[in-house]
Symmetry: C2
Subunit: 190 residues, 2 copies
DNA sequence: AGGCCCATGTAATCTGTTACATGATTCC
DNA sequence: GGAATCATGTAACAGATTACATGGGCCT
C-alpha cells in the first residue's frame, strides 16, 4: 500500500498530470519508488475518489486534454500518518545478483557481459542524478543547500539513488575483474 | 519469473528443505532475493513438477519429516539459459525513502526516529554479513579467496549486500544529521 | 503454562506486469 | 512516410502478501 504514498510524495512539488507523473517516476522519482504508467493512472483515480488528491481538467488545443492533480489536506494528513508508521525493511530483488550467485556453475563469459551492461546503465544514472542534484541546489554548494534550502526531501532521496548506483557500478567492475582474472587462471592451468 | 531462478541458485550449495531455504532467504540469500516461506514451499513443488529440482523425503524422529531438494541437470540448464538473458534493471522501492521525499511537509522528529531504526537495522546486517564472509573464506584473505576459492558466487553477492547496507547506514546517518541541524536552525529563528 | 523451533501447507486478497486500444500533433 | 510525444485508460494474468491451520518437542 505504499504506492499511494509514493504518489502523494511525488505530487508535493506541484500539480502533475498522470502522464507527467509517469515521466517523473522514470527519472527522479525512481530514486525512491518505481511504478508503471498504468499503475499511476489507476492510483490517481483511486486517490481522487478517496479525497487525498484533487484533480482539475485542463483543456488544451492541438493535444489531448489532461487532468492535473494536487495533494489535499487529507492527503497531507495521510502522509503524516504514514511517516509515523514503522516501515518494513526493503529487500533486494535483482536478476543480476541471482546470476552472480550461480557464477560457479554457469558460463562466466556471458555473466561478464551482463555485468558490463549493468555497470554502463548505472553510470548513466549516476550522470543523470549528478545533473538533477546540481539543478536542485542551483548555485549553492551542497552543504549550504542541505542546511538552508527550502525543499531538501527530493535532494536527500536523490543522494541515496546516486550512492546506490555508484555501489552498483563499483561492485559490477570489481566482479568483472574477479571473474576475468579467474578465467585467465583457468586457461593457463589447462 | 525470477523467483524460480533464485531458488535454483540457492540450492547450488547443497540439498535444502523448504524450511531451511526459508531461513536462508532470511539471512544470506536475502542478498540477492527475498521471498516468504509460503512462496518457497509453493515454488519448490512447482520446480519439482517441472523436473528442475529433485526432492527426497527424510524421516525424522522427534520432529516432523522433511523433504530435501537438489538441483537437477535440467535445473542447471535452466540457470544457464537465464544467465544468458538480459535482465531488467532493478528499481528501488522503499517506504523510508518515500517518507524522506516528503520531509519538508511532515514532522521531522518522527522521521529521524525512522532513520535511526533503519541505521541500526543496517548495522546489524553489516555485522552479520561480515561474519558470513569470514566463514565463507575461512583463513584465506579476501583477494586470495576471490582468485582461487572454489565457490565465489555467494561471496560476491554477499559483498554486494554488505555494500548496500553500508550505503543505507551512511545515508541514514547523514540524513539524520541534516534534519537535526535544520531543526536547530528553525528553533533558533523563532 | 507460555512461547519458540521445526515443518508444511491452503485460501483469499492485494499488487504489479503485459498486452491491447485510441487518436491527434510534431519532428526527421 | 514513420516515429516519437502527449494523454488516458481497460482487461487478463502473474506474482506477492496476509491470514489461517496443524502438531509435537524443547526451554524457562
Amino acid at each position: 500500500m505504499a504506492l499511494r504514498h509514493a504518489v502523494l510524495a511525488a505530487l508535493l512539488d506541484g500539480e502533475l498530470s498522470g502522464y507527467q507523473l509517469a515521466k517523473a517516476f522514470d527519472v527522479g522519482v525512481a530514486n525512491f519508488w518505481y511504478a508503471q504508467p498504468q499503475q499511476l493512472y489507476a492510483e490517481l483515480n483511486h486517490l481522487e475518489r478517496a479525497g487525498l488528491v484533487a484533480g482539475r481538467e485542463v483543456v488544451q488545443e492541438g493535444r489531448p486534454n489532461k487532468r492535473l492533480f494536487q495533494v489535499t489536506g487529507a492527503g497531507l494528513a495521510e502522509l503524516e500518518t504514514f511517516a509515523g508508521a514503522s516501515d518494513k525493511p526493503s529487500f533486494i530483488r535483482d536478476d543480476l545478483l541471482v546470476k552472480v550467485q550461480s557464477a560457479d556453475h554457469v558460463d562466466t563469459a556471458t555473466l561478464i557481459t551482463r555485468l558490463q551492461e549493468r555497470a554502463a546503465f548505472a553510470q548513466a544514472k549516476i550522470d543523470l542524478f549528478g545533473k538533477l542534484l546540481r539543478a536542485l541546489r542551483g548555485d549553492r554548494d551542497e552543504e549550504d543547500f542541505l542546511l538552508h534550502g527550502e525543499r531538501v526531501g527530493p535532494y536527500l532521496t536523490c543522494l541515496r539513488g546516486l550512492a546506490y548506483e555508484e555501489g552498483n557500478r563499483d561492485w559490477c567492475e570489481r566482479t568483472v575483474a574477479v571473474l576475468t582474472e579467474r578465467r585467465r587462471g583457468q586457461r593457463s592451468r589447462r
